[in-house]
């Protein structure tokens, strides 16, 4: 199969553009075929061509092109990282191979004396070898430091280059003019420079390894995308690369296969395992007209579907983009650290100079040696990397962890705020309840229950009210055949009227019955009271001033709503239910679930101001809703949770999207948020303590009291390990389990 590159093309307006762009792309060496799709403003290029050359070719036609990226990029990225990892290890090994024997010989006093001419020659030769190894093993530090310097920027490279460079330069001066310093100060630090470089390279390699693990969640998501798709073209089924699937193409999926792109089922039926995206464990039944999502697994039947979203537009691609964006965003705490990191290195350089001056002015003899060693140690021990890594590594793991549970967190700030919530407001319909009313009771006063249901269904067949659907579904389930209704009329706010099989009928609430003079007996009143208490909406069916029966409808509470409320309580949250429903029904549901407060009879447009009222009372409010009716409230809340929706609109507006239709995700999101913030604080605390203690100790602050001076090699080891420690601590978050799976 030829390599396929997809380009998104900007500035294409007509069929003429298509041929120009196609011609330009086909002319690129290595291109075997180029097809431009005007509707999608994209081009599919097959062959073996360089992307940048293709982009240039499109630009030459006066249009702009960007590659539509896919999983192949990730492979390229991984390959580059692996090559970098190997090079770091090789550089570490080379520096250690020369540095360690010199270090050991020094410890055994086996190195030549600088006073003899032979000794001086040997030292000079060792100095030149050291320089060669430093250039091989530490080239990136010196190049980075130089480039940084000319751009007015100081980084970790600056510190390493200055520390090891000073050590080498001083050692060379001593080797050439040994008498320039008193005899006691004639120490050579070639081995220190090499071992420091070896340790830092090794540390960076270990850090890379650990970093790779922090992005496992995104790799798992990318891994969900299949590489090929079986499409129907000119009556034949052919396997093509997923990038080559076009809009509206018919795709075949067989049992056990992954669904390649998003679409709508055309033919066949099956059950689809969507757990990888939503966390929903049960496979979902799919039939003609149902939507299927790319990356999910077809478990049973074979079906054909029409591709409706491809490339970067698929739900999976959007999830990957969103998780990636969130992983690299920063909470406020991280931005503060960034400011510190920005001034950190020049500050360390200044501290290093002050250290030199202090030792030179007040230190014991040989002052120059003490001044030099302490300055070098200060430069080497300071680790801006630990500070810089502290926040992003934890965010990366935390956001990825959330995605594993089907929780998409918009950015670092949302993650941070979710941990500080004190009150959770849950929308009732569709969040705590299924949002699909069902008939719960049929009570017959005259005739049979089936007859009551059949008559009610006959009358409701013409209605568009949500409750009508529930009545019709119940009748269908009981295989009752509704009759045609005549003289149908909707009586706003009260019910409906009509005639079925010549019989005049009324179906509605108590108010309608009162208006029409239909008296309700005491036992009926008792029944109505009981129904109201259990959050059921009664519809009374009457004919000729006689009550025939009652059909009660309710929106059932989700199975896991109880668990969700209990978990939120366990996290110390105040749980409030917000609904447009009447107070009676709302209170019945609230009582069943054990929530702490109910805000009922609220119009959708007023939901936002109710959230604001809670905020004014000092609460930090999280609002959970379906993302459509609750848009204002979701936006107003400190954290908006959109539930059960992979829809574009909900994902765009909410701070947190719960892919699974379950409110338990709210507690999980809060738990992950809290765990991530604890992890960030641990990392920052560690990095700050390391630097604030390490730098003064390296500068020799303890020397006047207990005679302690740090060896620069120890400083190098500490510096290398500090970054590894931060990344490893962030990796601990990968083991975190939310409450319901512990």
């Amino acid at each position: 199969m030829a390599r396929a590159i997809r380009l998104s093309i900007d500035g294409m307006h007509c069929a003429g553009c298509v041929s120009k762009v196609e011609a330009a792309l086909t002319a690129v060496p290595g291109v075997t075929q180029a097809t431009v799709n005007l509707a999608e403003r994209s081009a599919m290029v097959e062959g073996d061509a360089n992307v940048s050359v293709l982009i240039e070719a499109v630009r030459a036609t006066g249009r702009e092109a960007v590659e539509i990226k896919n999983a192949a990029d990730e492979t390229q990225k991984e390959a580059a990282e692996m090559a970098h990892y190997r090079r770091l290890l090789l550089q570490a090994a080379a520096a250690a191979l020369v540095g360690l024997p010199m270090f050991t010989a020094g410890m055994l006093d086996a190195l030549p004396d600088l006073d003899s001419a032979t000794g001086q020659v040997i030292w000079l030769a060792l100095g030149i070898i050291t320089l060669g190894v430093m250039m091989f093993s530490g080239r990136q530090f010196y190049v980075g430091a130089f480039k940084g310097l000319i751009h007015h920027s100081a980084t970790m490279d600056t510190l390493i280059a200055m520390g090891t460079g000073t050590a080498w330069l001083y050692s060379m001066v001593i080797s050439i003019w040994p008498h320039a310093v008193p005899e006691v100060g004639r120490h050579v630090y070639f081995e220190a420079a090499l071992i420091i470089i070896a340790l830092i390279n090794l540390g960076q390699a270990l850090e890379m390894r650990a970093r790779g693990k922090t992005s496992e969640a995104i790799k798992r998501l990318i891994g969900l995308q299949p590489k090929t798709a079986r499409v129907l073209r000119e009556g034949e089924e052919i396997d093509i690369s997923i990038e080559a699937v076009g809009l509206d193409e018919t795709v075949r999926v067989r049992p056990g296969e992954k669904i390649p792109v998003d679409g709508v089922l055309l033919e066949g039926h099956s059950h689809v395992d969507e757990s990888m995206l939503t966390g929903e464990p049960m496979p979902v039944a799919k039939q003609k007209g149902d939507e299927v999502v790319g990356g999910t697994i077809n478990t049973s039947g074979t079906f054909l579907y029409k591709a409706t979203r491809i490339g970067a537009d698929t739900v999976l691609a959007q999830i990957i983009t969103m998780v990636r964006q969130a992983q690299s965003s920063k909470p406020r705490i991280g931005r503060l650290v960034d400011r510190v990191a920005g001034v950190f290195v020049p500050a360390v350089l200044i501290i290093a100079v002050l250290t030199f001056i202090a030792w030179f002015d007040f230190g014991p003899e040989p002052r120059i040696s003490f001044a030099l060693v302490t300055t070098m140690t200060v430069l080497i021990i300071a680790c801006p990397c630990a500070l810089g890594l502290a926040t992003p590594m934890s965010i990366m793991v935390g956001v990825g962890k959330a995605a594993e549970y089907g929780i998409l967190i918009r950015n670092g700030e949302a993650l941070e705020r979710a941990g500080r919530l004190t009150t959770i407001v849950l929308d009732k319909t569709g969040t705590l309840t299924l949002g699909k009313p069902q008939v719960t009771n049929v009570i017959a006063c005259e005739g049979s229950e089936d007859e009551i249901l059949r008559l009610a269904a006959s009358l409701e067949a013409g209605s568009e009210h949500p409750l009508a659907a529930a009545v019709l579904t119940a009748a269908t389930e009981k295989e009752l055949q509704p009759a045609a209704a005549e003289k149908f009329a909707a009586l706003t706010g009260r019910g409906i009227s009509g005639a079925v099989e010549g019989k005049p009928l009324l179906l509605g609430n108590r108010k309608l019955m009162q208006e029409r003079g239909i008296k309700l007996k005491a036992d009926v009143e008792t029944q109505l009271g009981r129904l109201a208490e259990s959050a059921r909406t009664p519809m009374l069916l009457a004919s000729d001033e006689i009550l025939l029966g009652i059909v009660a409808v309710a929106d059932p509470v989700r199975e896991d709503s109880h668990a969700a409320v209990a978990r939120l309580h366990a996290l110390g949250m105040k749980v409030v239910m917000l609904t447009g429903d009447n107070r009676h029904t709302a209170e019945a549901v609230a009582k069943e679930l054990g929530v702490d407060g109910v805000i009922a009879e609220v119009m959708p447009q007023d939901k936002g101001s109710r959230i604001a009222e809670l905020q004014a009372q000092g609460e930090v409010v999280g609002m959970v809703g379906d993302g459509i009716n609750d848009a204002a409230a979701l936006a107003r809340a400190d954290v908006g949770f959109a539930i059960g929706a992979g829809t574009d609109a909900a994902m765009e507006s909410a701070d947190v999207t719960l892919m699974r239709s379950s409110p338990t995700g709210v507690a999980s999101a809060i738990e992950i948020s809290r765990a991530t913030m604890v992890n960030i604080r641990q990392n920052l605390f560690g990095a700050f303590v390391y630097n604030t203690l390490g730098i003064p100790v390296a500068a020799g602050i303890l020397y006047p009291f207990i005679g302690l001076l740090l060896n620069p090699i120890i400083a190098g080891a500490a510096m290398a390990m500090s970054s590894v420690t931060v990344v490893s601590n962030a990796n601990r978050l990968r083991l975190f389990k939310v409450g319901d799976s512990r």
Partner: protein, 119 residues
């Protein structure tokens, strides 16, 4: 000797503060429709100061030549945007129209630093 070393040291401190904190590198201007290319190499963005017109969408092309993992991503923290940079491959970065002001862009750790100046 001591006085000379002290004076040199203080001079060096002044130089460090001036060079890294007080003076700035020359800004490059992004003009017209053609996106400006930012090279990511050796731990820096070149150019690291970019002047862009306020109120217009911005297009930049990042070319990563630096294999360090720090260079793998460019983050525009104030805009809540980040972009993966693939080695040796130009990455087009599209930013929304910006209000007047400075918008820093950094690597994920905040070590590689640059700024977009919208004016």
């Amino acid at each position: 000797m001591t006085i000379l070393v002290n004076l040199l040291g203080l001079g060096l401190i002044g130089l460090i503060a001036w060079w890294f904190w007080l003076s700035e590198s020359k800004a490059a201007k992004a003009a017209g429709q053609a996106p400006l290319t930012v090279l990511v190499d050796g731990g820096v963005y070149a150019p690291d100061r970019i002047e862009v017109p306020a109120g217009q969408p911005v297009k930049l092309t990042f070319v990563r030549k630096d294999s360090s993992p720090c260079a793998a991503q460019v983050v525009f923290a104030d805009l809540d945007l980040s972009f993966d940079l693939v080695m040796d491959s130009p990455t087009e970065v599209q930013l929304p129209a910006l209000k007047r002001g400075g918008y820093p862009f950094t690597c994920q750790m905040g070590m590689y630093r640059g700024v977009l100046e919208a004016g």
